[in-house]
């Protein structure tokens, strides 16, 4: 489903050159739950961004559904991000001015096709899926951290993407809320959504199907974990 060939990525400033990824070969199959682990600055988030087409590799190629995306134009990449991927960020990144329901509707807005009523219905369903059906008219700052992350997950899944990309989704939450979010991601994966998650938490990683470990921008280990 997602295949990376010899992907490298270097960040350059005026004086400093930082190798973020080096010769990454990775294949994520449909329905997998992959946890990416490694120390801070090892390139996990960069790799997730490359997979999610938020960032372009300096070298190598990315294939989505068997098609290389290097030649895609802005509009094609945006369409792929919209239909293929759902993003969950460590700091939630909800839009503070919009109500919960409007935040969740966002991906549908850029998809086109669905009218306002249909968008609302789908957003409501996504919020009910994450247990926040009663908080639709709240604003993000009226919710706890765990609830905000649930809203972020609802926003990520509202368009029924094939792949959920989660960048340390429990990083800003306490252990109980973190466990709830993990349960939610596992449930989504059980329903067929492919999940790629960056995490520092060994226990969380052990609950998913596969762990890949990075060090200094390179893949150092692929291991199959035991799902909880």
């Amino acid at each position: 489903m997602i295949r990376l060939h010899d992907v490298s990525k270097t960040y350059r400033t005026d004086k400093i050159e930082t190798l973020a990824l080096k010769d990454i070969d990775l294949h994520v199959a449909r329905g997998e739950f992959v946890a990416m682990m490694g120390p801070s600055g090892c390139g996990k988030s960069t790799l997730l961004n490359v997979i999610g087409l938020l960032d372009r590799p300096g070298q190598g190629s990315v294939e989505i559904g068997g098609k290389p995306v290097a030649s895609y134009r802005d509009r094609d990449v945006a369409r792929l991000r919209n239909r293929m991927f759902g993003f969950v960020f460590q700091s939630f990144h909800l839009i503070a001015d919009l109500r919960v329901i409007d935040n969740v509707e966002l991906p549908l807005l850029y998809r086109g096709g669905a009218g306002g009523g249909e968008r609302r219905r789908l957003a409501r369903a996504a919020l009910e899926r994450v247990g926040l059906g009663a908080r639709m008219d709240h604003y993000p700052n009226q919710l706890s951290g765990g609830q905000q992350q649930r809203v972020a997950i609802a926003r990520a899944i509202v368009g029924q993407p094939e792949v959920l990309l989660a960048d340390e989704p429990t990083g800003n939450l306490d252990s109980r809320m973190g466990a709830e979010i993990m349960d939610l991601l596992l449930a989504l994966n059980a329903d067929g959504t492919t999940v790629v998650m960056v995490t520092h938490d060994e226990q969380e990683a052990r609950r998913v199907g596969r762990i890949v470990r990075l060090f200094d921008g390179q893949l150092v280990e692929r291991e199959h974990a035991h799902a909880a």
Binding site: G52, D55, D74, A78, R81, N82, F87, H93, P107, Y110
Partner: protein
Amino acid sequence: MLRNYVLTAWKVFMRRKLFTAISLLCIVITLVVLMVTAALLEAAVHPAGVEGRSDRFLQVYGIRSEGPGGHRMTTTLLGYKTIARYLKPLKTPERVAAITLPRQVSVYQAEHASEASLRNVDADYWKIMDFRLLAGRLPDADDDRTGRMVCVLNASTARRLFPGGAPVGQRIEVDGRTLQVIGVVEDAAHINAFADVWAPLATQPSTAYQNELRGNFAALLLARDPADLPAIQREVAHAATTFVSEDPRELPTTWFWADSKLDVYARVLLNNQGRPDSGAARLLALVGGAMLLFMLLPALNLVNLNMGRILERSAEIGVRKAFGATSRQLAAQLVVENVLLCAAGGLIGLACTALVLRWFEAAQLIPYLQVGVDFAVFGWGMLFALVFGLLSGVLPAWAMSRLDPVHALKGAA
């Protein structure tokens, strides 16, 4: 999508009220200056009211003669003899009026002296212009023929000279001649109408004007139909080629042109008396360019404010990109936000423009000025708002659309 753009715009405006207020103030001040200018130009070039027939009359304001090789040149107003000999006999116009430009004269009434602006006109003038008669009657051809010593006052002058009394039938001394007031008309500020006192040509102290090819006169030529105007212009241009100057050897070549109001301004301002083209298109381009330049500085200021707003919203932009917004959609969003802000500024600006114009009228900075916010000014106002919105929104929108989503999500745009 548009509904969402508007909703987002509203949220953004409300989020930073001071910022929104400063932006609005910047827009409103700019648009008020532009709209007041547009209203004054509109009143000058497309006057209604007393010059409401200006869509079917032309005016000849200048006469230029040149010597061989262009070594000697003279540009003046018309003399009455030029109008009588070359313009009055033209076949296409329905009427040709001879008018002097207004000049300051002394007026004595009941031993009170004052200054007034006097214009000498013939009877055709009153048929071409559309003055609203408030009392008495207007001079006619009979007054011209018999040389009656009569005059017409405008409403302000009538009130000033005869406070509380009826001016019609009274006598006043104007420029050393005693004239009987036969009518009172409304005040008018337009180029062919402006005066305090109007008197027939024959009331002038001397008849020397009848023998002058150059002098203090202009001619108004009324067409039967607006479609006749080009024919009149051709006829006038041809008449100029038959003009015989006072000194045909020294000044063998002469031009005078029948111009629309805009052409009159353009020809004088751009010194085009020697060419058929008045330069109106160039004048309009210059005015348009000046207005655009005037908009540029506040637009740059707004660009700067918008860039700051983008930096503040970079995380939101990153999120929108991550969830499938294209660069074009994001750019459109900011442009819509900006155009909405400018449209709001335009509406507030219109209200302020109406107040400023009312103050202009009340303060009489331009005597007898009557100008207000009509549909044309409203249209100009909205056009200015749109252009201003695009000018100040496109560059930030382009910058916004170019944001790298990863950096934007980190809030490091």
